[in-house]
């Protein structure tokens, strides 16, 4: 399988009031075409930051210090270095080629706009040409089919509309439509674009299994349940058939029953659309349901990367082992990981996990272990191997 995203030496630091936080430290990770890669870790392990780094949305006071993120675009020119891309080209990728779903669907949706509006926004932004095409075709069919007096009077208007939408379809930078879009009152003349976008939106809502999509599109976020909201957010993310869908703990805030439906949806996405999914979670059970491969992170660093079966059958890194042991099971005594999470401001030297590791050696304190390939497609960063 080819790589879709290649992350190398990624370092992200946060310059806060209290000091410098090393959110991500020299991370190397690959996401392959058509796979669902999970990133598993506790809060503060840097998993969400990795996702935001790919989209270059790290919030202030964070900064991407160094590293490279290469995106291998299927349709276009090959490899793009995302961290060096110009901002407007980056914007063309966000929501279009790479999109993201967040943890709290309620917070992700703007309360003052309808669901339909918010999803259509993506189409109007990234698929303008296609919308222009469809609109023009619709007007053209009106022109050819229209009979009678009413049609006759409207003809010149339709002809102008047809020309307008053709312009949008063929020359995206044409002046006339852009000018119209800027002026508040005349913007209404481009209503067909919005109309076409709505049709696409309703289709998308159907795709994510939202019942009665026409009605839902006209509703506001507060009128929907948690599960429906999350589906709407997913619809928004999938609207332009992205090559990579990043999901940051998408099921964490939902009921267990809804969770199961959501995971089924994610499985389907991969199959139907051939998209890769970067699935971030702290729940190993959820990861086992959706992911092909898993990367385990601790304190901003990778511990282990392997297939999901390997993770459960042959966990190598002590942290991974501890995570699996910590899952509560009936009959088994509750296992915890001793010690506290690594201090973000003053992390332990060498291997970050060594203060809590049962197999720590003096070497672990001194130098950071590098990711090593151990067996087929299984990488660990630990001196035990």
């Amino acid at each position: 399988m080819e790589d879709l995203i290649r992350i190398k030496d990624l370092t992200v630091r946060f310059y806060t009031y209290e000091g410098v936080v090393h959110a991500i430290d020299d991370l190397d990770l690959d996401i392959r075409q058509g796979e669902t890669l999970g990133i598993v870790g506790e809060t503060g392990s840097g998993k969400s930051m990795t996702a935001l780094a790919i989209l270059r949305l790290i919030p202030y006071p964070g900064k991407i210090e160094s590293g490279s993120i290469v995106f291998c675009d299927k349709d276009s020119s090959g490899e793009l270095e995302l961290l060096k891309l110009r901002e407007d080209k980056m914007r063309a990728i966000r929501g279009n080629k790479i999109s993201m779903v967040f943890q709290e669907p309620g917070a992700a949706l703007n309360p003052v706009y309808t669901i339909g509006d918010q999803i259509s926004e993506v189409y109007l932004l990234h698929r303008r040409q296609e919308l222009g095409c469809r609109a023009r075709d619709r007007v053209d069919s009106l022109l050819s089919d229209g009979n009678g007096l009413a049609a006759g009077l409207k003809r010149p208007f339709w002809r102008w509309q047809s020309r307008l939408y053709s312009k949008i379809a063929e020359e995206p930078r044409a002046v006339e439509p852009r000018l119209l879009n800027r002026t508040p009152l005349f913007r209404r003349l481009l209503w067909r674009l919005r109309d076409e976008a709505s049709r696409l939106t309703v289709n998308m809502l159907k795709d994510v299994e939202i019942p009665d999509p026409v009605r839902v599109a006209a509703e506001y976020p507060h009128e929907l349940s948690g599960g429906m909201k999350q589906r709407a957010v997913i619809a928004m993310a999938l609207a332009c058939s992205p090559e990579l869908l990043i999901a940051d703990e998408p099921t964490t805030s939902l009921d267990v029953t809804i969770q199961a439906q959501m995971l089924e949806l994610f499985r389907r996405i991969k199959v139907d659309r051939g998209a890769s999914v970067l699935f971030i979670t702290h729940n190993l059970g959820v990861a086992s349901e959706v992911c092909d491969r898993v990367a385990v992170m601790y304190a901003g660093r990778l511990c282990e990367v392997c297939t999901i079966e390997e993770l459960f059958l042959h966990p190598l890194h002590p942290y991974t082992r501890a995570l699996l042991d910590a899952v509560p099971m009936p009959g088994k005594e509750l296992q915890t990981i001793p010690g506290a999470l690594a201090d973000a401001l003053n992390p332990p030297p060498g291997c970050r996990f060594h203060p809590r590791c049962p197999s720590a050696t003096p070497l672990c304190q001194q130098e950071r272990p590098k990711l090593k390939l151990v067996g087929k497609d299984h990488m660990v960063a630990c001196y035990l191997y």
């Binding site: 989209l55 993201m100 992700a108 949706l109 703007n110 309360p111 003052v112 507060h222």
Partner: protein, 338 residues
């Protein structure tokens, strides 16, 4: 909305209660309609039963109010009702110019301060806002007059019109449609009057607006900051929207909500400010009239003015409530939450 009725009722009882602190002779001026009646107060006392029990008198008074009888204004020698309507156009003129300035300037400056948080623009606007909020309006007015009227030899004078222009405006050729000088000038296609009226408006409108602009600006800034910190902003950016669109379309609409709820207070601030501003600039609107009345202890006028304002304020709050439900879909009347 039904709560309005007890409030209005309470307001009238309150005003009436205040009047009952006076003796019947003093209260008589509240029922007088003409100069002739003023000289025959015992008759008034008889006619309106000013020595009857409280609730009877209340009933009489309320019915008189509904008939437009708010008493006699000793200060301007006309019935209070007439005084209100004759001085109102001047105040409305001030409001017409001040309100858009306050709203637009406040919202714009507040958004800019929020968008450039912690940079020079933000700090400057914060200082300006605090200074503006601390300014005594009357002092600002005096200083402005001192500079622009005194020092600059009358570039921006007080009152509504120059002497010459007043003559023009009161002449037979000039039709007074609304008694609002600027509007009338436009309707009469009279350029010089329009210019003169505008010249006289600059200082009062500025004085009136500054405090409110400072208030709105600060509110808009904190509201925008809160809005910009919300999750849907990150989502909007993740969709690939340009920063300008994110701020204007997504953040601002939410940020406006608290500002709208506050606009009732802005109106109250304007009502207060008008009293002082009109006095300083001798701009003969209802504020000026009320201040004159207060100094001469013209009870009927002052109470009539207070009542008028209260009713107006209640009406404004009603409109604000309706606007609020239009803007925030979460608050739609009769909406059902899942």
């Amino acid at each position: 909305m039904l709560l309005l009725i007890p409030v209005l009722f309470g307001v009238t009882v309150f005003i009436f209660g205040i009047t009952m602190l006076f003796s019947p002779i003093e209260r008589a001026s509240l029922y007088v309609r003409s100069a002739r009646q003023m000289s025959n107060l015992p008759l008034i006392i008889e006619t309106y039963g000013l020595d009857r029990p409280f609730w009877e008198q209340y009933g009489t008074w309320v019915s008189q109010v509904f008939h437009g009888n708010l008493g006699w204004s000793t200060v301007v020698h006309m019935p209070v009702w007439d005084a209100i309507w004759s001085f109102l156009p001047a105040t409305v003129e001030l409001a017409i110019f001040a309100t858009p300035i306050i709203i637009l300037a406040g919202i714009f400056l507040g958004s800019q301060a929020a968008a450039h948080k912690d940079k020079a623009v933000d700090h400057l606007s914060r200082v300006a806002a605090i200074a503006g909020w601390s300014l005594p309006t009357f002092w600002l007015g005096l200083v402005l007059l001192m500079v622009f009227y005194g020092y600059f030899r009358g570039i921006l004078p007080p009152d509504r019109l120059n002497h010459q222009m007043s003559i023009v405006v009161n002449s037979a050729d000039f039709v007074r449609y609304t008694h609002i000088n600027t509007l009338d000038a436009i309707l009469n296609l009279n350029g010089p009057v329009l210019l003169d009226a505008l010249r006289h408006l600059i200082l009062p409108v500025t004085t009136l607006s500054i405090v409110s602009v400072a208030f709105i600006m600060r509110l808009m800034r904190s509201s925008m900051l809160e809005s910009l910190g919300k999750g849907y902003i990150l989502t909007a950016r993740a969709k690939g929207l340009a920063e300008r669109v994110v701020i204007n379309k997504h953040a601002r609409r939410n940020a406006l909500i608290p500002v709208i709820t506050v606009s009732g207070y802005v109106f109250a601030g304007l009502a207060n400010g008008v009293v002082i501003t009109e006095t300083i600039f001798t701009f003969k609107g209802i504020g000026w009239w009320a201040a004159q009345a207060a100094t001469r202890l013209d009870i009927a006028s002052v109470l009539g003015f207070a009542l008028f304002n209260a009713v107006l304020f209640v009406g404004v709050n009603l409109i604000v409530d309706i606007l609020y439900t239009r803007v925030d879909p979460r608050v739609r009347l009769g909406g059902v939450m899942q």
